[in-house]
Amino acid sequence: MSLERIKIAPEMFDIMPPEYQDLVQKATYGNESRGWKDIGTSKELIEEHSLCAGCPESMAFRYILASLPNPEDTVMVGSTGCTSLVFPHVGIHNIHSLFGNQNAIASGLKRALTVRFPGRVKDVVVLAGDGATVDIGLDMTLQAWFRQEKFTTICFDNELYANTGGQESGLMQKGFVAKMAPIGKHFEKVRLPEIARESGCHYVVNCTVSKPNLIEKVVKNAIYIAREIGPTYLQLYTPCILEIGKNSMEGLQEMRDAEKPTERFAYREYISEPAKELIAEMTAKEKERKAALKKQLAGQNA
């Protein structure tokens, strides 16, 4: 639903449940500078979710939804997994695809939206777990990148199949023993960020979701670059605290431990040359905007 349509019929406003009234009055639709700092002061685009208490995935969802630059014209594509339990509770259009099919669905969707709304920016964002992205859906993931489809793929990497009790996944670390992988994994964790780079992604980041400002930056970069240039990929560590034997309050520390310089989620990014130019351009424009605003404020105060 585009921004001008997100309004309640005036005669029905008083009977709408409060969360819908808030969504219209206090959400940050249409605000170009929206970001993680809006959390707590405006209506978030996620309602009560059904994830486990303390799940880092819920943090990731909140930061990502707060950072989307164009939520009223964004469609998210999800797949089977814990993420699919959350999508019914977000204030953004979303499509649930067959397990692993998300990048194929997103390809068609992005092309159709481009034809249907030629004068309008429509962002497509895939958000799926590591099973959907790397195991069952690897074919679709890679083919979308080979074809240079203009959308962002986000993988919530919890390094196993959490929703079904802890089976081995391609992104699980070597040697890790899970509830349903009792002999430990024999192979290395798939190096998908490197594969993404080689497959044509213009912006690739591997990190945890421990820092909301970082998530805002990488999400915005990924979406802007996907809009203008080509595919982008974010691999975000969202550990399943239940499956790794942690308590509800230990998710954040787990991510901090996993992002130390020698660890597997130490911040890594790859930016193609055209993407670097675009980021430089965007940074310059942002500086100009801020300078103009400062000047305007100074004029008002004089």
């Binding site: 309640i8 019929a9 005036p10 029905m12 449940p17 009560e48 979710h49």
Partner: protein
């Protein structure tokens, strides 16, 4: 001997058959249906108005197609629905309790819905049971979700269901209109006003 199936208030049983599978057909333009019997639209108007006036808790359930002002027609329908609700309020006795409860969207709600403020198509019976609703009208609900809800209501409650449908009508409602417009909703309000005082509230 073939027995003609009738779409009647339930509780029918856990999984009632779809009325279409029992041979109930949809009305043509200018018609409605009552319990599956095709009737002229005015007859359906009168019967719907009587149901509102008889019910202890006459209720309107507006869906997303009219709750959100996504185009001019939707906004006009919302105005007409509010008018119908206010008319029902004016025309009933103090012992009756009219309600206007929205169905804002169709997602299953966790941990659970608040049945005092909304209805959800996946478990509409909760709202009906909680508020003891005995007659309701769906308006502005997408076809599939309306059919789902109407069947669940027929299966598990004794509520009389009316569908003010903008398309071809609903077999699974006990009474259905088709091609709903703001004018048609206003006409129903006129019927309610016309029958004011001539219909006694139900004692059941």
């Amino acid at each position: 001997m073939t027995v003609q199936y009738k779409v009647l208030p339930g509780p029918e049983h856990y999984l009632p058959p779809s009325a279409a599978s029992m041979g109930i057909r949809l009305p043509d333009p200018g018609q409605g249906h009552i319990n599956g019997r095709i009737v002229p639209e005015e007859e359906a108007m009168e019967a719907a108005a009587r149901q509102f006036l008889m019910a202890k808790v006459p209720t309107i359930f507006p869906g997303p197609l009219v709750l959100w002002a996504w185009n001019e027609k939707a906004a006009k329908k919302a105005t007409a629905i509010r008018h119908l609700y206010e008319t029902i309020k004016e025309c009933i006795t103090p012992s009756q309790k009219p309600m206007l409860i929205p169905m804002p969207d169709y997602r299953p709600k966790y941990p659970k819905i608040d049945p005092e403020v909304e209805i959800n198509p996946n478990h509409p019976n909760l709202t009906i049971w909680h508020n003891k609703i005995d007659a309701c009208m769906f308006v502005g609900v997408h076809c599939h979700q309306a059919n789902l809800s109407l069947k669940i209501i027929r299966g598990g409650t004794n509520c009389y269901t009316i569908a003010m449908c903008a398309q071809a009508g609903h077999e699974d409602a006990m009474l259905s209109f088709r091609d709903a417009t703001a004018d048609k909703i206003m006409r129903l309000a006129e019927w309610v006003r016309k029958l004011k005082g001539s219909v006694q509230p139900s004692e059941n």
